[in-house]
Amino acid sequence: MRLFQARSRISRHALPWVVACALSFASSLPASPLLDSDRPEYPPDTTELDSQARDCLRCHAMETLAYRDPETGEILDLAVDPRLLSHSVHGEMACTECHRRSYRRYPHPEQAGRETFSCVGCHEDDPEDATYQFLSIEEEYARSVHVAPGASEAEDFSCHSCHDPHVFRVSRVGKEIGQVVRDDNRVCMSCHRELTDPLDTTHAWLPKRDAHWASVRCLECHTPPSDRAERVSHQILPAEDSARDCVGCHSSDARLLNRLYHYRSQEDLARKGLIAKALFNEAYVVGMSRNPTLDALSLLVIGLTLLGLTAHGVGRYLTYRRRTNRQ
């Protein structure tokens, strides 16, 4: 289990508690289709939120609520987006189910010691048949390249590096595939920004890299394929073990895509045939989007033609023989 490392709190006297630079920080991110913040647009409806949460959000919903840590110089963003929160898996919880109860007072009392959080700590008692098995997720996570022995930044890594507890929501069957891809890849790109550098060559072997990154997840290639289509693996593989195998997607069995395409809705799955799929703008994947009927028909026509030509040739030869024999 990994503990959350709370950043040291600073004395409240020195608090420039609305730091406008939080805004300029956010807007200085490089523009890239993979980094853009096209987060889902929700109506500003927060009625589902816990009443205490709404109380805290009087202040914490302010986008610019932030301060600069005097020790590290880092800007600590204290804003919690109420719309994202209300749609997250924890949207109905009170803030103090996770945070110290003393936060209910303002000014918040100075407190020694760090707040520790753990996803698994709360979820390990989930029943056997719970949708998500946190213990096996934790095992996979422990083997992932980010925290495995020898990883340079393992100390700073935790579940929260990828899952903002105020925002996290799981993708469910029926969510648009493109949106699943965007949401999950944005997680990786929040750190791996160097990959969008045009000079970056790590994926140069992949033709149309950006088209791939818009239609498949990093996870498809960077986690071991599993038999259970519905499970996201948390074992991120090192570069040398990652999948580079085109036929894993570009073929009729497309095993690397099972996990992504399991999010397809029932209506999606019910659609059969090229025309139906094309009409609903499914990506055309060379080698995978094949229509057995069309292919069979074409091969049949080609086969029949070959047969006809052979018969014609044999006929020519036989009549030629008959003629020359007669002479």
């Binding site: 072997w205 085109c246 073929s251 094309a278 703008n281 990506a283 060379v286 074409s298 033609t305």
Partner: protein, 207 residues
């Protein structure tokens, strides 16, 4: 023995280059479409090979069109509408019946017209209809990132892919028939030899 110089150097060069590109494209295209099937090229190799060859085929097609505009080879592709249907009928009847009875060939190759009407029409269809469709859809695939998401409510890449697939199946069909038809000259090798040497030779009085 009658000899005619029918195929200029550039035509022969173009023809054999085109034939080579066709074969490579069919092999690499099938390797992508049927990826995962044994005996085919590895997908990554096939993609690179197919793209490169496709670009070369475009250049070769442009060369062909330009050659026909700039030299007098183009005259062989000008349709003579008078008696068109009769000639088509005659030619088809020859392939269906006459050829088995050693009937005289209904068409006589001349310096003015080296293609019989059936040949002429199918070559016109292939070079000026199927090829442009094939090349256009191929280039659209290459630049699919810049295409609009949908066209008339249908995914654009689907339209591109289906056009490309259908034209390529049709061209494979053409190639098979073409390979067979060239054996129907005076002797099995008459036509093939003409495309190699440029000279068409057959029995009969010199003109």
């Amino acid at each position: 023995m009658r000899s005619l110089y029918l195929y200029a150097g550039w035509v022969r060069l173009w023809h054999w280059l085109n034939a080579l590109l066709f074969l490579i494209l069919i092999l690499s295209g099938a390797s992508m479409h049927y990826a995962g099937t044994p005996w085919l090229l590895d997908f990554e190799t096939a993609v690179t090979l197919h793209n490169t060859t496709g670009i070369l085929l475009t250049l070769s097609w442009i060369g062909f069109v330009a050659g026909n505009l700039l030299t007098d080879n183009g005259r062989h592709y000008r349709i003579r509408f008078r008696g068109l249907l009769d000639r088509l009928f005659e030619q088809s009847r020859y392939y269906a019946f006459g050829i088995f009875q050693d009937a005289p060939h209904p068409f006589h190759v001349s310096a003015e017209m080296k293609l019989n009407t059936l040949q002429q029409l199918s070559y016109l269809g292939v070079m000026y209809l199927l090829m442009p469709l094939l090349l256009l859809s191929g280039w659209s695939f290459l630049f699919s990132v810049y295409l609009p998401e949908t066209l008339f409510g249908v995914g654009t890449v689907w339209i591109v892919a289906m056009t490309h697939l259908t034209t390529s199946y049709l061209l494979v069909l053409f190639l098979l028939v073409h390979l067979y038809i060239i054996t129907t000259g005076e002797t099995v090798l008459t036509n093939l030899r003409a495309m190699v040497t440029g000279w068409h030779r057959e029995r009969g009085e010199p003109q």
